[in-house]
Subunit: 407 residues, 2 copies
């Protein structure tokens, strides 16, 4: 209920051979400080995600992977699975089995981790049973390129040291930009426009709205939260104009009409795009809609499998808007969840959701492969603002993204 959102947790992937002691290590890390929040069971080939609190590291998503030495399945499947995990890993822990040491599975994995510039911490497990000689560890450290810490999940030897190394190794900006706080001065007023439609679950607000309210408070500003219908009343009751108005994308036009032109106006989707990824890339992608031709292939990528609405944004509204913009039909393809194709060459445009269920590392990965293949990529919020002709206004608080769109 009061959980830290999945996307705001440091994603820690645990790698090692079968029986290297990965599960015991996870238990030792959370022992006595445990707050096991959820446990999504996977199959033997799928990694298991565990939302946990490791004190003092903080809220993490542990990705418990299958053994890197598991030859029972097809090698290519294992490589693909590891690739998918690495695409969302902020910090990798390699657990070395003292009986096996560092051999091909370990060095291959370490190479894949290094290639992606992912931080890695290495431990050798079962130190209470096989206290490793420093002479044995030195060549392992040379092969892996990182120090190797002896730990015992049983006696807890090295566990607090490991936590310290995890904190030191966690990438500095893994959480990305603040949602909105860096745009604010203490005491500023932020107006948030939250439409309540049938899709809104009873008694709740959706995650980007809650995250934005929280970020405003964290940065010593305060917010006015209103439906679009009461926006005018709410603005009229303020002595000083707000610093910025943030609206649900789908109400952008109405809200733009009610917001004085000198006040910044943007959308939750654009805030989340910046928080989660790279707004400049997405803004540049919007430009590409102008040169889209009937018949072109368009990929619509959603980060989660949500309950489909009759007038679903990804399935119905966005295709309709794009057909109108292009003046003809397009060849639409859809993906959901972890399933983002590595071959994007057929697409002339990728339209991505707000990514509220993805972490920043994964969103940056998706943006990077789009850029690499030269495929323009937008998100829902940027696209909606664009097709309604209000993108320049929505990007005003973000000058570099505005320039990426104009040029």
């Amino acid at each position: 209920m009061n959980e830290t959102p999945k996307g705001s947790r440091l994603h820690v992937a645990i790698f090692g051979r079968r029986n290297a002691g990965k599960s015991s290590l996870i238990n030792a890390l959370t022992n006595q400080d445990i707050a096991l929040v959820s446990d999504v069971p996977g199959t033997t080939t799928d990694p298991v995600y565990k939302a946990m609190e490791i004190l003092p590291v903080g809220p993490v998503m542990i990705i418990d992977t299958a053994g890197i030495d598991d030859s029972g399945e097809l090698g290519s499947m294992r490589v693909e699975r590891t690739r998918q995990v690495l695409n969302k890993t902020d910090l990798a822990i390699l657990v070395i089995d003292p009986a096996a040491g560092v051999a091909q599975p370990e060095t291959e994995l370490a190479a894949a981790i290094r290639e992606r510039s992912i931080s890695m911490v290495a431990v050798v497990s079962k130190a209470d049973l096989h206290a490793p000689e420093p002479m044995a560890i030195t060549p392992w450290e040379e092969k892996l390129g990182v120090p190797v810490l002896p730990v015992s999940s049983h006696t807890r030897q090295g566990i607090e040291d490991l936590k310290r190394r995890m904190i030191q190794a966690a990438p500095e900006h893994w959480e990305g930009q603040p949602v909105i706080g860096d745009l604010l001065r203490p005491g500023d007023t932020v107006v948030l426009v939250v439409p309540i439609d049938l899709a809104a679950p009873k008694g709740r607000l959706i995650l980007p709205q809650v995250q934005t309210i929280r970020d405003v408070l964290d940065y010593d500003a305060y917010c006015v939260v209103t439906k679009e219908r009461e926006l005018r009343v709410a603005l009229a009751n303020l002595k000083q104009l707000p610093r910025i108005v943030v609206t649900d994308s789908q109400e952008f036009s109405k809200v733009a009409a009610d917001t004085p032109p000198e006040v910044w106006l943007t959308s939750f989707s654009i805030l989340m795009a910046r928080h989660k990824g790279d707004l400049d890339t997405l803004a540049a992608g919007a430009k590409a809609i102008e040169s889209l031709q009937p018949g072109d292939s368009v990929l619509i990528a959603e980060g989660c499998t949500h309950h489909q609405q009759a007038d679903d944004i990804g399935k119905v509204k966005i295709p309709r808007w794009l057909r109108q913009a292009v003046g003809g039909d397009l060849d639409f393809h859809w993906t959901t969840g972890g399933d983002f194709p590595s071959d994007l060459s057929r697409y002339r445009l990728i339209v991505h959701c707000g990514a509220c269920m993805l972490n920043r590392r994964e969103m940056l990965y998706r943006l990077s492969i789009a850029r690499e293949k030269g495929v323009p990529i937008v998100n829902y919020g940027v696209l909606i603002a664009f097709v309604h002709g209000i993108l320049p206004r929505a990007l005003k608080p973000f000058p570099s993204a505005g320039m990426a769109f104009e040029t």
Copy 2:
């Protein structure tokens, strides 16, 4: 993430013999409309809770119980377990096995349901295999006192009828009072004071805060959300004073000083107490603190097992405040979760949490047994307001509760 809170779901308990087809019926009810939100596995003797969306009934908490004919365990355990389920049941569905008909297990259960004035719907399952004769059904209906609907989870015969009956049978006020909406006029301003302390999970707001924001919007008003530190700035920027200020209980004193005396001021805990239960009973309970003597037994009841804080409200702060109020030590006892003792006779006061994880039916049950035994009961919010001398002000928006406290 976007779930309807547990306490705001219609609690539907499914009863029947082992193999009566309870699980198939649950699947049929959610079939194609399924949105299985969570599944807390129980042991064989514990009921299983499933948060689901049954269209068009809405968000429900299905309580899947063990067989009412299960004689493999001690009879008293089964009775106790059924009693605990019934204490939170808004609507009971009795599934009759056509091979067994209505006999002692069914009539005993129906009597227990009737005794508690719980709405009941009865079905006879497996209608595709054993199409029951109307002549067979009539005596069942007489024994149970409700119509019996033939259904088949396999062919879906009767399933839509059952959903209609569920909607008709759901008690009208099972959700209780609005959180705040009935105090508001359209266009009103509500100020919500949300302290951000270490206990607040990153990126989130706590549930009563989110529910209050949502209720304000649902009733066509709007809110200003601020930390206690920015409250003065936020109030100063309003042309018209707000209708009401709602604060976290622990900041009541500071917020009371900053809120003009002519503006209503209450706490999230008091709003939730009214939403979930009966504020008048809790306000009357606060009076009893005045006559508490050193050495008296006090029960502190929490609805969930949350992460303990160093300065935990239930474990540390409330005992400290009560000792100060009484001028001596007290004999404190604690309960958490579903574990509310049925024997309350030893206690001179019960202090209950805000019940954010309990449904209204269960909270009303707890209040009713306290009243029955003549044991005064307060909740955290009412107690905090009382010990800080501000309860009369916090109850001003609620005249009948104010009178219950004064007399």
